[in-house]
């Protein structure tokens, strides 16, 4: 276990009980960013336990003291759900963790999740003023600290349902967008019924993100809070199949569709359907949701010696690190651009690297070969180089005509997901984009059908947990307005 600190030494600071020590900005700026203890790479590649272990109370208070309390807190603007960050940081500095958690929860119902999986370095921490000179305040780690502290000390404030309005809202999909909308709507006094297609709610939080990044007991705990507040959960119900949208519209006053990006993309390569070639969704679902990492589990997953994971996002990192933990000798991360263009979080890339994942930048698989049993045995990759920037602003990878062969027995394709087709194809009049994502108004989440909202990855394409949560929140607000007024102004559909 490493407890390494920044090179700068943390000055000795007295932490008075129930008060924030009186420090000048200069003194605050002199405190280095506090490191979080974590499992060593050698230990963690043999288990599925969480990697970072969290701050203790004193470390959290010291880290929170690094905030210089800007007059115009840019960090709030950097947060997709506008959390009052300086507010909760001050409470932490004072040692009032319950108070901090209350502030945090006003804007984020899943802080234990976001504190772990949000790309803070691209959001709140990116625009942190302290970060202009030093390392930014570790807002994400403090968010996680508060949420964990509250839960572990049994101090979680129950979600209080609002005075009953008599209105009923159906939420389709129990991922981050659906759970957030459910929490907000129940607080507003509406009756909420949530339909989840899998046998457990949580969406990507349970089937996708591995245990070592987000322990499932945390998701279960958050879901239980919703149930305690009266949200009615129906697992194993597929809207579009078990019930149609029309049926939901008849039974409910509003419907929020948050079904996520649930259709994995493949590359249409020769050999892509060989045994041992998985979508990241399948690989991770087998391991996370179906617990295939436990050799006693009923759902199997391939035993692998050499694994290639294709892609450069967080899902690719999750796949690679999972393969390592399942006992693979070599895990190759094949990405067609360079480290700089990788969409994965820096922290995930570093963790993967520490765990011995071998990066093959500027490589792109073009074909797979199989053995006599039809199991993949080779990934033929083309070397790429970077050309002119493309529409996304990233330099486009260009084939070079040079090839390398990787000996692999498992391939995990993590190049993204398309929208799940089940609702669009069974719902007349629901406007969709070219690739099947549902069209929704950005500021409200309203769709082309009166009384139907959509948000999260089904609208955005594969994005992040926090953006999905933001969309859930926006939709809940708009649903509430509609249920109060009955107004459905003309919709300006996005995209």
């Amino acid at each position: 276990m490493s407890t390494g600190h920044d090179k700068a030494v943390t000055p000795k600071i007295d932490l008075p009980v129930g008060a924030e020590p009186n420090l000048s900005n200069k003194e605050r700026m002199a405190i280095p960013r506090q490191e979080m203890p974590q499992q060593s790479a050698e230990a963690r590649i043999h288990n599925f336990l969480e990697v970072p272990l969290g701050f203790d109370e004193n470390t959290a208070r010291i880290e929170a003291l690094r905030c210089i309390k800007c007059k115009k807190p840019t960090c709030i603007d950097g947060c997709p759900v506008g959390i009052n960050i300086p507010g909760f940081l001050t409470k932490i500095a004072e040692g009032d963790f319950a108070g901090g958690a209350r502030i945090l929860k006003e804007d984020n119902i899943l802080p234990a999740v976001c504190g772990r999986v949000c790309p803070q370095e691209e959001q709140c921490e990116k625009v942190c003023t302290v970060g202009k000179k030093n390392a930014p305040v570790a807002i994400g780690r403090l968010e996680r600290f508060l949420a964990d502290w509250e839960r572990e000390h049994d101090m979680v404030q129950p979600l209080i349902p609002g005075a009953p309005t008599g209105k009923k809202v159906a939420i389709v999909g129990g991922g981050p967008a659906g759970l957030t909308a459910a929490a907000d709507l129940v607080r507003m006094g509406h009756k909420v019924v949530l339909y989840e297609a899998l046998h457990k709610p949580g969406g990507v939080l349970v089937y996708g993100i591995p245990e070592f990044r987000l322990p499932k007991k945390i998701v279960e705990f958050e879901v239980r809070q919703l149930e305690k507040a009266g949200v009615e959960l129906h697992n194993s119900v597929v809207i579009g199949q078990t019930f149609t949208m029309t049926e939901l519209q008849e039974k409910f006053d509003a419907v929020f569709v948050a079904t996520g990006a649930g259709l994995p993309y493949f590359m249409n390569l020769v050999g892509e359907n060989l045994n041992g070639v998985y979508s990241a969704n399948e690989y991770l679902t087998r391991v996370n949701l179906m617990k295939a990492y436990d050799s006693h589990a009923d759902t199997p997953v391939a035993k692998s010696k050499n694994v290639a994971v294709v892609g450069g996002g967080n899902v690719a990192m999750d796949g690679a690190r999972t393969a390592k933990r399942l006992g693979a000798d070599n895990v190759y991360l094949v990405y067609r651009r360079t480290r700089k263009e990788m969409p994965a979080r820096v922290e995930e890339v570093e963790h993967a690297e520490e765990e011995g994942i071998k990066f093959f930048f500027l490589h792109n698989p073009i074909r797979y070969e199989g053995d006599a049993d039809g199991r993949v045995c080779k990934a033929i990759c083309e070397r790429m180089e970077l050309g002119e920037p493309d529409a996304s602003g990233r330099r486009r990878p260009v084939p070079t005509g040079e090839f390398v062969e990787l000996e692999v027995d498992t391939v995990v394709v993590a190049i993204g997901n398309g929208p799940n087709p089940l609702i669009p194809r069974t719902t007349d009049g629901l406007a969709t984009k070219k690739w099947g994502n549902i069209k929704a108004e950005k500021k409200s989440g309203r769709t082309s059908i009166r009384g139907v909202w959509a948000g999260g990855d089904i609208v955005l394409g594969a994005a992040t947990v926090i953006l999905a949560m933001g969309a859930g929140r926006v939709a809940a607000k708009s649903i509430d307005e509609y249920l109060k007024t009955g107004d459905w102004p003309e919709v300006t559909l996005d995209g």
Binding site: K200, E220, R224, V237, T242, F243, P264, N275
Partner: protein, 309 residues
């Protein structure tokens, strides 16, 4: 973890042993019973730690709120259903109806081919085809007499029925492909063939009907996890394009299906599956001689034998 309000509905209301290792389950699932159409399937977990297994819906009763599954014991999960579930027990989950329903229209003359437990899901399709004013010629087959199920139901549903067994213990000795050839020789080319059964059978039927130029539908049952399009484990190549059986199927134009690939993919987990099954059998010893289930199946088969004589 979470109370599942719907799971309470998934009670096993009746269980019947149709043939050795073949069991009929009638499950309370009102929402599925109301919506299901011929050709669709469900994903089932018999208990909270079970894997998710796809099973084709053989029948349903919207009024009674039940669906019927006819399941062959091939591994641990199906063995658990057969040996551990009692009438009144609840399934952890029954999810569905999944997949696209069979496209039913008036084709004209249709040959409907069922092999083994594939006869079960074929039955409602035949009923649908018949209701759409098709002339339906049934062909059903099994390895041996004891394994033949639903002969009477098929006899009622089809205009005519041919029965074959591999070993000649019942009906005509031969394969379903022999019967198709015989039927075509006797009555000419039909407008459509629908075939459901073991992969090897569907493949053989497909090869024959391709030769004969008969449009053929097969219902595929590959390995799946979620059944809603999310995992892609069920992908199959049809006319050189990758399809997801769970959302694009389960029925496809037989002549476009890459059966080699499908067969290989089916076998991927065979060693693990066998290991789990063996462990289960070791923990739940039941030799055929003393097994009550087998005795019941034998008695039922004897009973059916008497009726048809």
């Amino acid at each position: 973890m979470t109370a599942n309000q719907d799971a309470g509905d998934s009670v096993l209301v009746a269980k019947e042993f149709l043939a050795p290792k073949v069991t009929k389950y009638v499950v309370r699932a009102p929402d599925i019973a109301r919506r299901r159409r011929p050709g669709q399937f469900v994903i089932v977990r018999s208990h909270a730690e079970s894997e998710r297994i796809p099973l084709t819906i053989a029948d349903g009763d919207a009024e009674a709120g039940t669906i019927t599954l006819i399941v062959q014991e091939v591994g641990k999960s199906t063995a658990e259903m057969a040996h551990l579930m009692r009438v009144g027990d609840r399934f952890a989950d029954v999810l569905g109806p999944l997949g696209m329903p069979t496209h039913i229209e008036k084709y004209g003359r249709v040959i409907a081919v069922g092999g083994g437990i594939g006869i079960a899901p074929l039955h409602p399709i035949v009923q649908g085809l018949r209701a759409a004013e098709n002339e339906v010629i049934g062909i059903i087959g099994a390895r041996t007499k004891d394994l033949l199920i639903m002969e009477d139901e098929m006899k009622r549903a089809c205009h005519s029925l041919r029965v074959v067994t591999d070993d000649g213990s019942y009906g005509v000795k031969g394969l379903v492909t022999d019967a198709i050839q015989a039927e075509v020789n006797a009555t000419g080319k039909p407008d459509l063939c629908v075939a459901i059964g073991p992969l090897v059978m569907m493949r053989a039927v497909s090869n024959l009907t391709k030769e004969l130029g008969i449009k053929t539908l097969v219902s595929l049952n590959p390995i799946m996890v979620d059944g809603t399009g999310m995992c892609g484990g069920c992908r199959v190549t049809v006319h050189k394009e990758t399809k997801f059986v769970c959302v694009d199927g389960p029925e496809f134009d037989a002549h476009g299906v890459d059966f080699d690939e499908l067969q290989r993919r089916q076998r991927f987990y065979t060693p693990q599956e066998r290991g789990s099954y063996d462990l289960f059998l070791k923990d739940h010893p039941h030799d055929a001689k003393n097994c009550k289930l087998h005795k019941m199946a034998d008695a039922a088969a004897a009973e059916r034998g008497k009726e048809t004589k």
